[in-house]
């Protein structure tokens, strides 16, 4: 199987890649994101599925992102995302503002190999005037029924964190079904996992139905608690760290300090160093 280090995983993501990332709580790959920042990736087109928080803010603040396609960027109860807000104000991002179900629809079209997916709603929203990839069409099965065609979204790479992988390269996602959609809709998927399990996930009937087959997976890296400080599997975010971030990251220097704190305090750092890997 394709087990690699976090830095090797980050090397698989070229400058300018169209990179799909998951919403909070469904496997936000923070350990891999720090590896991307270390490798100084540039010109990313982020596709947030369908929203993002700290991960997008860290990539934007580190100058990795040219185009941001998302339905929202928020740090939830902690507040607005400071580097995103600053980048918008200074015109440093090409914004592709979306609405959640349209991002899902675009990925579902890609999943099925279709050019577009129709979707209700959206008409008269100002979002539409900035989207050449959303177009009204007529429902061919009814009279006078306009519906929105959402062009397929085909990410080059999906990057997410999951519970486990086996040595055959299969990835167990549990209830976080967005991982399956991300993997199906993208050219390839790179995944960080909590642990590597013995045996084949498909031989366990309780887990087989919630497993992404190895054919969709381009690389796996071990990163225990790899979403920290974002929550995972029902766990809460690290509220103290998030509050410090909100306060400090308003200016670029404070942001750089928080990045250093993220690398130094991350739970995966000590575990991986013990195995002789760079964190």
């Amino acid at each position: 199987m394709s087990l690699m280090t976090l830095d090797q995983l980050a090397q698989q993501i070229p400058d300018g890649a169209r990179l799909a990332i998951p919403k909070d709580d469904t496997g936000v790959p923070m350990a891999a994101t720090l590896a991307l920042v270390r490798r100084e990736v540039r010109g990313l087109h982020l596709v947030c599925v369908p929203v993002s928080g700290l991960q997008a803010d860290v990539l934007i603040g580190s100058g990795c992102v040219d185009t941001l396609e998302t339905s929202a960027i928020t740090l939830g109860e902690f507040g607005l995302a400071p580097r995103f807000t600053d980048a918008v104000r200074n015109g440093r991002l090409r914004l592709v503002d979306a609405t959640c179900p349209a991002i899902y629809a675009g990925l579902q079209a890609s999943q099925k190999g279709l050019p577009f997916m129709p979707l209700r709603g959206i008409f008269s929203s100002d979002l539409l005037s900035h989207r050449s990839d959303w177009k009204p069409i007529q429902n061919p099965f009814a009279e006078d029924d306009a519906i929105m065609a959402i062009k397929a979204i085909r990410p080059d790479i999906a990057l997410f964190h999951a519970q486990a992988a086996d040595r055959f390269g299969n990835v167990f996602i549990g209830r976080d079904r967005d991982g399956l959609l991300l993997a199906h809709a993208s050219e390839t998927a790179l995944v960080t996992v909590e642990r590597i399990v013995d045996g084949n996930l498909f031989e366990d009937p309780d887990r087989a139905g919630s497993t992404v087959p190895a054919m969709y997976i381009g690389g796996i890296a071990l990163a225990p608690q790899g979403t920290w400080p974002v929550g995972f599997g029902g766990g809460n975010p690290d509220a103290d760290w998030m509050r410090r971030y909100i306060g400090a990251a308003r200016d670029p220097e404070g942001f750089r300090n928080m990045l250093e704190s993220l690398a130094a305090e991350a739970p995966w750092a000590t575990e991986l160093q013990a195995e002789g890997q760079p964190a």
Binding site: K23, S71, I73, A102, G121, S125, D126, R177
Partner: protein, 256 residues
Amino acid sequence: MSTAEAVATEATPIEGLILTVASLLHGVRHVAVGASSPIPGAGALLSRALAEQAGEPAVRLSILGSRRHNSFTNGGVEIFDLIGQGRIGAFFLGGGQIDGEANVNLVGTGDYPRTSVRWPGSFGSAYLYHLVPRVILFREEHTRRVMVPRVDFVSAAGPRDDGIHRPGGPHAMLTRLCLFDFDRAKRRFRLRSVHPGHSVEEVRDETGFDFDCPADVPTTATPDAATLGLIRGRIREEIGETYPKFAAELLPAAIT
């Protein structure tokens, strides 16, 4: 009566809002509550508890962020699929700006894309506003900064006479001052009631758009003793699963 007892028997403004949310949901069979929405969540839980007590049909709740009140197994798209099928009867939307035709702005102020103030973004609003039969606009802040003559950016558009399939739309708007109904045919808000301690004049002063107003505007109903007990007991416990900080800090515990 001691001060502590006086506080305990009188509803707080937040408890009043929770009751009003519950009353707006009466008769809805499946309510969905989005992220960062503790008061709508508590109101939805109260609506379910009151329906149970009255022997009315069971109310199903889908509260995003909750483990207990969330049975989705198809990822983030499932809520939107349910909405597309018409299975969700009510949903809540906030808004950085809301105008008199119920257009909602969740993107920012100034000229897009370089908005001078940028909010998170439109989330699912542009879609669900057309489709959920009872969208309740909930925004505690009620000032001319929020209630504007015309939103700077339309995230989700209020009803239009444009022939687009639109089974849903805005139903009411609840703020810290008052409750409006929204008339989809006239495309105007109508003041339904003003909360205790506030006045129609205050609502006018703080609202940047015209709205219809009856000659006599009633005061918004507040929870009676039994309902207060329910909010401070069962509802406080239930909403605490998703919003522990809100339950602990903003809702008084029941007197035992």
